[in-house]
């Protein structure tokens, strides 16, 4: 029973491991280059899921000070708000993700123009015939 509790208490972490491995598998084992890129995105979002999971606190709310708008702030109870730092980091990570994604897509289009296919084995076959 303890083990069940232990597993359940960390369910988010197990889920991110599963997602990450799905992405990892697609990146290194898939033959189609577009699938590799999708895998890359899944891999990155899994890490983001992990970071966001570290930010949550039981009984806390979103990190926006509720009585904002210029009124004098009361003593703020830190347990009341989620940890904002991982959110900040992950905003940056998402941007990095989409940038990498854009460059990867641009490369895919270049490759398609050159080889007229996006299957890795077919491209390698073309290269091999080029080498003679």
């Amino acid at each position: 029973m303890e083990i069940m509790d232990f597993i359940i208490s960390k369910y988010n972490y197990w889920m991110y491991i599963i997602l990450m491995m799905i992405g990892f598998y697609a990146m290194i084992a898939k033959n189609n280059l577009v699938k590799k890129v999708i895998g890359m995105n899944i891999f990155q979002t899994a890490i983001i899921l992990f970071f966001v999971s570290t930010a949550s606190k039981k009984g806390a709310t979103i990190p926006i000070i509720q009585h904002g708008h210029g009124e004098a702030a009361d003593i703020i109870n830190t347990a009341q708000y989620m940890n904002p730092l991982p959110h900040v980091l992950m905003l940056t990570a998402i941007v990095v993700m989409v940038s990498t994604f854009g460059v990867a897509i641009a490369l895919l289009i270049m490759l398609y123009k050159k080889y007229n296919t996006l299957e890795e084995d077919e491209i390698l076959e073309i290269l091999r015939t080029e080498d003679g």
Binding site: I42, I48, I105, L118, E119
Partner: protein, 81 residues
Amino acid sequence: MIWQLDILLLIIVVICALAAISVKDLLSSAILFGAYSFLLCLVWAEMGAVDVAFTEATVGAGISTAFFIGAIYHTSRRTKD
């Protein structure tokens, strides 16, 4: 946070991810990836990371999918795996 809802969403996310990398039509794959992103964004909103969720909604479900579709129009839609 409601952990039952969390787990449910996460399981759907995993299913979406598996579907996105295994369907043989790249356009479906792109749409499934958009769905994956959107569900993930729900998970994060539910965890209280509203900014991250917002960003993921605009980027993952919006711009990325548009990029994907643009790329697939320019390349091929079919794949062997």
